[in-house]
Point group: C2
């Protein structure tokens, strides 16, 4: 919302995973996100408790992308009149449970009537000493991603197709994403990442955010995209869902070449796998090449709430 001179106390303003604020009492991260019935999920896909958990976890993922630690959140629940009290309590329980697992507390909330169920959560977290944004990538930096990509998108495909016994590991990835809090903190503290973002809209689109903010391009090698066994059972080595699908909630970061060996040595500290999937380039576009080096057309971008 506007790019004029930041106001007093605003260290990092709009356009990042979190804002960074400082009023002379230490730096805090602040972020907000919402899950809306019919947009981010169908009621049959998530139990009320799972919806609550996921609503918190997607926020925590934004804190992870800035290397922070979630501490306090406030919740707005917009609820249709017909929504059952019991289900509402389950949503709340899910939020509280997920917050506690991440070391945070639900400190307040607001309940309002609405036509569709939606859960908005604002999360306040402590900031690391070194702030990492989407803005520092430089040509030559290596592009890394944690975990595996495409699992949640593959789960959504199964849910949309009403598959009788959808793959449990994929469903878990959709229902209960794992914010990479430890990895984010360690990467930020080590000072070896030049830019970082969480993968929520598909890796190509989120890499696009880093490239746009950093005024660079990137080349991604599909052969390097980390795919889970469950994903490969359904889609073989086809990386398309992993490239474009959303809701991975992994971390995507860029690492200057001089820091790559440090990352390799210290990778056990991250608590999750991390894989190099490409390189930052000086062009302004993102290219995707397959294992033969052939460029893949990027027909569709990642998930965009304002497209059909």
């Amino acid at each position: 919302m506007g790019r004029r001179r930041p106001a007093r106390g605003v260290v990092v303003g709009p356009g990042q995973d979190c804002a960074v604020v400082d009023a002379g009492r230490g730096r805090w991260l602040l972020t907000i996100d919402a899950l809306v019935d019919g947009v981010h999920f169908e009621p049959a896909w998530l139990s009320p408790q799972q919806l609550g958990e996921k609503s918190f976890l997607v926020n925590a993922s934004d804190i992870a992308a800035m290397g922070g630690q979630p501490r306090f959140c406030v919740v707005n629940l917009s609820v249709p009149p017909a929504y059952r009290e019991r289900d509402l309590r389950a949503v709340q329980r899910g939020i509280v449970a997920a917050a506690r697992r991440c070391g945070a507390a639900v400190v307040g909330g607001n309940l309002t009537r609405a036509t569709a169920l939606s859960v908005s959560i604002a999360l306040l977290g402590t900031a690391p000493h070194r702030i990492v944004t989407r803005r520092g990538a430089r040509p030559g930096d290596r592009v890394y991603v944690t975990g595996t990509l495409g699992d949640a998108a593959a789960a959504v495909r199964l849910l949309q197709a009403n598959v009788a016994a959808p793959s449990a590991p994929l469903l878990r990835r959709f229902r209960r994403p794992t914010p990479r809090l430890r990895a984010g903190r360690v990467l930020a503290e080590m000072g070896i990442v030049s830019a970082m973002i969480d993968v929520s809209d598909g890796v190509v689109q989120d890499l696009g955010h880093i490239c746009r903010e950093s005024r660079v391009g990137a080349e991604v090698r599909t052969a390097e995209i980390p795919l889970s066994a469950a994903y490969r059972r359904l889609h073989g080595k086809d990386p398309r869902l992993a490239l474009r699908g959303g809701e991975d909630y992994e971390l995507l970061c860029t690492v200057p070449v001089r820091h790559v060996s440090t990352l390799q040595r210290q990778r056990a500290r991250l608590g999750c796998p991390i894989t190099c999937i490409g390189t930052i380039t000086s062009g302004r576009r993102i290219g995707v090449v397959d294992d033969t080096g052939r460029a893949l057309p990027l027909a569709a971008r990642g998930f965009d709430h304002f497209r059909a």
Copy 2:
């Protein structure tokens, strides 16, 4: 959400106008609120810019009720696909403008598709040295309210009735509430209020929140309810809308008798009128008496989003 032992760093948890958090770096207030199309307003009642302004101001009112200073906010906009880009920008402009007028900055946001327009804002503010909650009222304390009551509710009546030229002063109170930031800060700093809340659901209902939290009752004298000239032109001395109507965004506080003379002496510092409307009692109910001392039946409570 739950009343178990508060988590580390939580000074004041759920159930107040704001949460108070402290992670060893000073205390912060955190609050969230939402305005939903068709619930809190009809599109014809508020221009997009006014909607943006009001969305921020109702949050700032919660900060005022805790004696704090708004500093940083994040915004979630849930927007139907058909909503015009131009109007969306106007909503954002309104939020930014209202925040700036209150000494705060919009530091981040999130945009999502939805079936109905809604604006959720989470606001972070600095806390006063003395925290005031809804919980400290004691029998004998005097009940005070800032400004005048019932204006916004009277405006909503006019809007609902499609009156051709509705009263401008009343409309202004509905469209652009005045969070009583200065009054809230001064009252908290002076240490003379035992409990405080902002009047958003009607003074009787919000006094009920103070009474429930403080385990006391209250007697309100209708003859003392401050009514604006514009209100009186339409409703004479009938206080019913002023008692039950919502969206006043005035401050309601309780003052121990020993501090009343201090309040009287210092009232000019508040930046707005303040009026004694009743007394806290040891019973657990709220009584309303008219100017002859006769009890009024409280047929309807204030505005409740989950009633028809």
